[in-house]
């Protein structure tokens, strides 16, 4: 414990440096704006702005990008409450009661409760991250290639199990991502794979063009301006304070949402969406007045908002401790660290303590910053929503092109972005979730390397995965999840309801 506190002090000495504070502020501000803008989620926002961090050191870069990530969660709740437009699926639950509160003239209170809930949950998540990530990383130092292979298999199966689309669809997308991840030079044999004589493809297909294409451009292609509603009323500053009764009603839901969200966040998959959905269902079940839900129940805003913010923080645990991305946003953040020459994983905490602890400490600071930034300035931020979408999306496309091009100064990357924009549009039409594709693409090199190393170690026998206890346990959990998925496929369980909720956000 003393070690953790000392390390955290080191982290604060980094996070409170004026230059790091400045980039945390920029990240939080941009994240809030990104969360509010329709058609621009945190993933596209981070990907587009990734090149801006190239001139920075790794600490400032990751602090800024993480600020965009959790800032966008705050920003997403603003549009949900004021406009009933969820910035992303995680905010669907906030829409229901948050907008109902706004219609009753309690928009300010709903925003304040969402902001406070996010702050408390985010801070709780960082405390848990501080305590859990270092011991988990120390444990993972004993992992060899078979354990990593099994861990990645479990990650993919978990993702498929938790997905709102069917298990088969998710695994299909993940295998497509894994195929795409094999493009480029094979590091073990030097063979060029699927490069078609294009030298830029030697390093493989980049995550940024694929992510920006699928989640940024793809979304814009499928959103004609006539479908975007306008009109917004900004609440006044004095209307922001909830009543004593509203505070009382929100306290326990925030506490429950924080714990629930953090632990769901650690699991690969659409954690922040699932956590807000489960939190809403839980609060409704525990409420003495379940009929109030849907008509402006305070708990219906407080619980899901706390849960999705805690889940966002929880998702950093596997990335920092194991080098395992649990979602596409975390995958892009991982790519950002790699671009800066820092491999995330169990060695991060020992090899780069300033980056690890500086990043953790910056999350404490970032949560305070977001609270101070979001509540008093909500009236200013909502003015952004007055810009007609027709003028907004050409600007976003321009930033997509610049952002992708600046990563490698490669026009091929921009073409890849356009191709994946069209692919994203097509996937949306056919009901496929592109997130597993991005995850497959990210883990493909690690997965291939660890699988091949395992087979070489064992002289070509698959038994190596059954002879090592950790690998065997991880694979057994994977099999168990597949069995559970097969059983629940016949019944309409919580995933079916979640899929419905996601559809309403589209």
């Amino acid at each position: 414990m003393e070690d953790v506190l000392n390390s955290l002090l080191l982290g604060f000495s980094v996070a409170l440096r004026p230059d790091v504070l400045w980039f945390a502020f920029i990240g939080c501000l941009v994240g809030t704006l990104v969360g509010m803008l329709p058609g621009l989620g945190p993933l596209a926002g981070i990907s587009i702005l990734l090149p801006l961090t190239f001139g920075l050191d790794a600490t400032r870069a990751i602090v800024m990008l993480a600020g965009i990530y959790y800032g966008s969660q705050y920003g997403g709740s603003t549009t949900s409450i004021l406009l009933r437009i969820p910035g992303e699926a995680a905010s669907v639950m906030t829409c229901i009661d948050g907008n109902a509160m706004a219609k009753k003239g309690r928009a300010g209170a709903a925003l304040c409760i969402a902001g406070m809930g996010s702050f408390i949950a985010g801070t709780f998540g960082v405390i848990m991250l501080t305590l859990l990530a270092p011991p988990l990383a120390a444990f993972a130092l004993g992992f060899g290639p078979p354990e990593y292979t099994a861990l990645l298999v479990l990650g993919l199966i978990f993702l498929a199990y938790m997905s709102t689309t069917s298990l088969i669809r998710t695994l299909l997308m993940a295998s497509l991502g894994l195929v795409l991840g094999t493009v480029g030079i094979d590091v073990m044999t030097g063979h060029f794979r699927f490069a078609f004589g294009i030298s830029e493809l030697g390093d493989g297909i980049g995550i940024v063009p694929v992510a920006v294409g699928l989640f940024g451009l793809g979304e814009l292609l499928a959103t004609p301006s006539r479908q975007v509603k306008g009109g917004v009323t900004a609440p006044r500053l004095r209307e922001l304070l909830p009543t004593r009764q509203e505070w009382r009603e929100s306290a326990l839901p925030i506490a429950r949402g924080s714990v629930l969200g953090f632990f769901i966040g650690i699991i690969p998959g659409s954690a922040h969406i699932i956590s807000s959905f489960i939190s809403y269902a839980l609060e409704r079940r525990l409420s003495r007045q379940p009929d109030e839900f849907g008509k402006g129940a305070v708990a219906g805003v407080a619980g899901p908002e706390a849960a999705n913010n805690a889940a966002s923080t929880g998702a950093f645990v596997p990335m920092l401790a194991l080098g395992l991305p649990t979602g596409p946003v975390i995958a892009v953040l991982m790519a950002a660290l790699l671009i800066h020459g820092i491999p995330p994983g169990p060695t991060l905490v020992n090899d780069h303590p300033d980056v690890f602890w500086g990043f953790v400490a910056s999350m404490y600071v970032g949560n305070v910053m977001l609270l101070l930034l979001n509540l008093p300035l909500v009236g200013v931020f909502v003015n952004l929503l007055r810009i007609p979408y027709a003028y907004l999306y050409p600007m976003i496309i321009m930033f997509c092109v610049i952002g992708v091009y600046e990563v490698n100064h490669s026009i091929i990357d921009v073409w890849i972005m356009l191709i994946f924009g069209i692919v994203g549009y097509g996937l949306k039409k056919f009901g496929f979730d592109p997130a597993p594709l991005v995850l497959g693409l990210v883990i493909a090199p690690i997965f291939e390397m660890s699988l091949r190393q395992s087979l070489i170690m064992s002289n070509g026998t698959w038994h190596i995965f059954l002879e090592r206890p950790i690998a065997l346990t991880l694979l057994l959990v994977s099999v168990g999840l597949l069995a559970l998925a097969a059983i629940s496929a016949a019944t309409r369980d919580w995933r079916g309801k979640l899929a419905e909720a996601e559809k309403t956000s589209e």
Binding site: P51, L52, F54, G55, I168, R169, L171, L172, S175, L176, L178, V179, T182, D186, M188, T189, H191, R193, F194, L217, L220, L221, A222, T223, P224, Q227, A390, Y391, Y393, P394, M395, I397, M398, F399, V401, I402, Y405, E406, H409, I411, V414, W415, L418, G421, I422, Y425, K429, F430, G431, F432, A444, E448, L451, R452, L455, I456, N459, G460, T461, W462
Partner: protein, 148 residues
């Protein structure tokens, strides 16, 4: 039999998997004790085909293909085409002209906005981006044949 969306999607992914097999023909699979460069692509393409076949088999639960809403297709085609032209021109013509063209064309051609307002907006926005990326962040932007 009604053609359903999952029939079409499944057939597409089977074809894609077969294409990967065809393209990776010259990559050695190796042996299990010494896996080659072709092992992973072929394994994953095989898995992709298997999952795609499962999707075709269970396609009856998906909606009919003709019910897919393509009403936004012209918007998508116009935006994608304009972006493609801008990407093609970017390195040749340079940042300022290409980006102004991109924003202006999207506003006038796709959104049917007033040409004068669109011109002012697209030039102002491009100059702002030029200042932000090129000057403030010192990111090297393409100059093109006109050197700006």
């Amino acid at each position: 039999m009604t053609l359903r969306s999952d029939h079409v999607a499944g057939i597409f992914f089977v074809a894609l998997g077969l294409l990967v097999f065809a393209l990776s023909g010259d990559l050695p699979f190796g042996t299990l004790s010494s896996p080659g460069a072709g092992m992973m692509p072929k394994l994953m393409a095989g898995l992709m085909i298997a999952f795609a076949v499962m999707i075709i088999i269970t396609a009856n639960t998906s909606r009919p293909f003709i019910e897919i809403d393509w009403s936004d297709r012209w918007h998508a085609i116009l935006v994608a085409s304009t972006t493609a032209i801008a990407i093609f021109a970017y390195q040749k013509v340079g940042f300022l002209i290409t980006m102004s063209f991109l924003v202006f064309t999207l506003l006038v051609l796709v959104e049917r906005r007033n040409a004068l307002i669109a011109a002012v907006y697209s030039i102002a926005l491009t100059l702002f981006a030029y200042w932000l990326f090129g000057k403030a962040l010192k990111a090297p932007l393409e100059r093109g044949f006109l050197w700006f």
